[in-house]
């Protein structure tokens, strides 16, 4: 059995050398969908590079077997979705809500939900404009968020199979992605639209509304929750129609599974962020966070991977050994990075990510298992930063900043992206007097020396402030 070396971030080439020492038994141990014929996924980054994931040549990865397992699993997702279809499972695209509708779909046996918008990383990992160029040809302007890659992927049918059905959430979700979803519907796919309410305090609007307070202290009128419950019931009915199965106990099981992931990820994040030495890299942690949405199309295997990662992190924390320099400055990261290279790069220049606002916080909180399941889902979703004000979005970061837990904030600004770019100026204003750097994420393979210099200067300023 392969034994982890001293923790370190290593290059793709270094992983190839290490991979020689991994025995065949270990390689064959890890499979998705419990299938030992085509479900193997423990491969070094070089394998995915051969198949076109070009950025892997520039990135550095954690050198644990747990991290290798995670990357193999994540990069195999496209293949996994096709294999799911080939083995008779139903593939259901859930779009826009990020993390709740997928739990309903997962409740049905042999139904695999996935979020097509997550394909927005593909152009960056592939250092390729193939998907973005086609999206532009199809009418999604260059100025729209990189999630427009999903539109091209639907047309190409080479990144995921044609979904059996699509649930699309709009309303208080992202405007950019709502436009993309409409374009996808025009391609002739089977769709159900859900409306997501904006979270706002009721007092000023309808005073007789009873009030609900979320765990993070935000308020909304009860009727919003009732409304969402009706929307989720519509999803359930559609799934019943598709599968012929109607057993709400299955939804409880699905919620439990989602909670298992959420609890594990919370433990992983807490242990990592509180450790004196960073025991796990930021890029891997972001990938872990996004796994909460749908477990990269195999929740059961994803849970096993998370358990292995958690063990690795605990082990490292006990020994107080980390993967970046001990005096790295803790920062918060706002918005998903788009270009994964950025998360790797900040660690090279002495910054350490210890707090994140990736617009998916609704997928991170535990769902109440004691109340009626649709209400529990609605309540968990109503905490979403996606549907509230900018001030609410950054409130936890603001708090962490005041307590000294973080010393700087990095915002990755997606040009044209409605949630992720229009808010940047507002955030900067709300975070005034604090060290904030907002950078525009350029198109794939576009991180210039100028951007690196700005990041370096930001790191230097933070180091200076400490003196």
């Amino acid at each position: 059995m392969y034994k982890d070396p001293k923790p370190k971030k290593i290059t793709m080439d270094e992983w190839s050398v290490r991979f020689k020492n991994i025995d065949n038994k270990t390689i064959k141990k890890f499979v998705y969908y419990n299938n030992h014929d085509w479900g193997l996924y423990l491969q070094p980054p070089a394998t995915f590079m051969v198949y076109g994931t070009r950025e892997l040549r520039r990135l550095r990865f954690d050198n644990s077997l747990a991290a290798l397992r995670m990357w193999g699993f994540v990069f195999n997702e496209s293949e996994r979705l096709f294999r799911a279809r080939q083995s008779g499972k139903k593939i259901v695209a859930t779009m826009g809500d990020l993390g709740t509708v997928s739990i309903i779909v997962m409740a049905f046996p042999d139904c695999i939900p996935f979020y097509p918008e997550c394909i927005w990383w593909t152009p960056f990992f592939n250092e390729s404009t193939v998907l973005l160029d086609l999206a532009s040809e199809l009418g999604a302007p260059e100025a729209a968020c990189f999630s427009r890659a999903a539109l091209a992927a639907f047309v190409k049918k080479a990144y995921f199979p044609k979904p059996d059905y699509i649930f699309a959430s709009t309303g208080a979700t992202c405007d950019d992605y709502s436009c993309i979803m409409q374009s996808i519907e025009h391609l002739g796919y089977d769709f159900m639209w859900l409306e997501v309410p904006l979270r706002r305090s009721p007092a000023k609007h309808v005073s007789m509304d009873s009030l609900v307070k979320t765990k993070n202290g935000f308020e909304y009128p009860r009727r919003f929750e009732e409304y969402l419950i009706k929307e989720y019931e519509k999803v359930w009915q559609k799934m019943v129609e598709i599968t012929g199965i109607d057993d709400q106990n299955l939804l409880m099981v699905s919620i439990k599974k989602a909670n298992q992931v959420r609890t594990l990820v919370e433990k992983i994040k807490r242990t990592t962020y509180q450790a004196g030495n960073a025991p796990f890299p930021a890029l891997e942690l972001m990938t872990i966070e996004f796994g909460n949405l749908y477990g990269y199309a195999d929740m059961d295997e994803w849970i096993r991977i998370l358990e292995m990662i958690y063990e690795t992190i605990v082990e490292r924390t006990k020994k107080n050994i980390g993967i970046i320099s001990e005096d790295a400055i803790p920062i918060a990261w706002v918005n998903p990075t788009a270009d994964p290279y950025l998360l790797d790069y900040v660690e090279r220049i002495g910054l350490r990510v210890v707090d994140t606002e990736y617009v998916i916080n609704q997928a991170l909180v535990e769902i109440d298992e004691q109340i009626e399941p649709f209400r529990a889902l609605a309540q968990s979703f109503m905490q979403a930063s996606l549907i509230g004000s900018t001030a609410q979005r950054i409130s936890s970061i603001n708090k962490a900043m005041r307590t000294g837990k973080i010393e700087g904030i990095l915002i990755t600004n997606m040009l044209g992206g409605s949630h992720c770019a229009m808010e940047t100026k507002l955030m900067e204003r709300l975070l005034k007097d604090k060290p904030v750097l907002a950078i525009d994420v350029p198109a794939p393979f576009g991180i210039t020396e100028q951007i690196k210099t700005r990041l370096q200067a930001f790191a230097e300023v933070l180091h200076e402030r400490r003196k």
Binding site: L40, Q43, V50, E79, F82, L134, A158, Y159
Partner: protein, 349 residues
């Protein structure tokens, strides 16, 4: 992009190849004639530059891609590259491929032969440089096939070929010893190819039935092809095995190599489909003398006939040439092959 057919090509060659490898029908077949040194002819560079300068090799391949719009690049010049790095001497004619001059084992004993370092030894770095250049330039859109001589073929290039064949009868143990070191050399080369972004394709022309008996193939070539493919399967790569020349007598043995795709030359395609297509994806097998010397209209007709037959293959089919496209094949002929195949090789409406 779309010469020769009216359908809109929505997939890049890489996307198309990716679908084939996960048992999905792509929009149309991947069309991959073996355009190796012929690329130098298209790029109008001397062959000696093509096989000694990695950047030139890559540029020639990319120029050929622009001309033909086929579905994979083929990095290769001749089967002696590993043997050369192990000590065999080759002549480099200005406008022809390297020719074996002095085999290593006529100068030295087997025990004094080292496993070559692909980053430094002889022309192996040329291939790696070519792959790196092409990967950075077009690697997001098209697969890069890197041809690796199999142990048996390399073994024969380490020896005087006739002597080597006699040794398979008189000194089988010695041949196995040669195979073992050639296998290690091939593995080391593959390892570097993968890190440069290339997908190794194993070539074993000297193991075809035009050269050795099925029995010798089974004893000396197949087990080492298998070991090499097993090594590559650790990376979960899908591997093409290419054997040019006669293969009909060994058809039934080929699945034992473990190859995922089999590239064939002189064999009746219907017979190959019958025997192999449930176990392996089929690649092939347009007659290279026809592509060099027939008229474009004859090529079109025969290529279409071949593609029609091949497309019934249940595990997938790649229309290709049975061997390398001869260096000075007229451009119109290669285009006739590719464009006529493109016209009818559609899976999607």
């Amino acid at each position: 992009m779309n010469e020769g057919n009216s359908k809109r090509e929505i997939l890049t060659p890489r996307e198309r190849f990716g679908l084939l490898l996960i048992d999905e029908n792509p929009d149309r077949c991947n069309i991959i004639p073996l355009i190796t040194s012929h690329a130098a002819h298209i790029a109008r560079i001397p062959l000696s530059k093509y096989y000694t300068d990695g950047k030139a090799m890559a540029q020639a391949q990319i120029i050929a891609l622009e001309e033909y719009r086929h579905d994979a690049l083929s990095f290769f010049s001749e089967v002696g590259i590993i043997a050369e790095a192990m000590g065999s001497d080759f002549d480099y004619p200005d406008d022809d491929l390297p020719v074996l001059k002095t085999p290593a084992l006529t100068k030295r004993s087997l025990s004094s032969i080292d496993i070559p370092d692909p980053k430094n030894d002889k022309r192996l770095p040329v291939y790696l440089e070519a792959l790196e250049y092409a990967y950075a330039t077009v690697g997001d859109k098209i697969p890069l096939l890197a041809y690796v001589p199999a142990p048996f073929t390399t073994g024969m290039m380490l020896s005087v070929p006739n002597t080597f064949l006699i040794q398979t009868i008189r000194h089988p143990d010695l041949v196995h010893d040669i195979m073992k070191i050639c296998l290690q050399a091939a593995i080391e080369f593959c390892y570097h190819i993968i890190n440069a972004g290339g997908l190794p394709i194993i070539v074993d022309p000297l193991a075809s039935s035009s050269v050795i008996s099925p029995k010798a193939y089974e004893e000396f070539a197949l087990p080492y092809e298998r070991k090499l493919i097993d090594f590559l399967h650790r990376y979960d790569l899908d591997i093409i095995l290419h054997i040019c020349g006669e293969t009909e007598p060994i058809l039934e043995l080929l699945p034992n190599t473990g190859a995922d795709l089999i590239s064939l030359d002189k064999v009746d395609i219907s017979l190959a489909l019958d025997k192999l297509s449930k176990k392996m994806r089929i690649v092939g097998n347009f007659d290279t003398s026809k592509i060099a010397f027939s008229s474009p209209s004859e090529i079109e007709k025969e290529a279409k006939e071949m593609v029609r037959k091949g497309m019934v293959s249940s595990k997938g089919y790649i229309p290709s040439t049975g061997c390398e496209v001869p260096i000075r094949t007229p451009i119109e002929n290669v285009k006739a092959f590719i464009n006529s195949s493109k016209e009818i090789a559609w899976y999607w409406d």
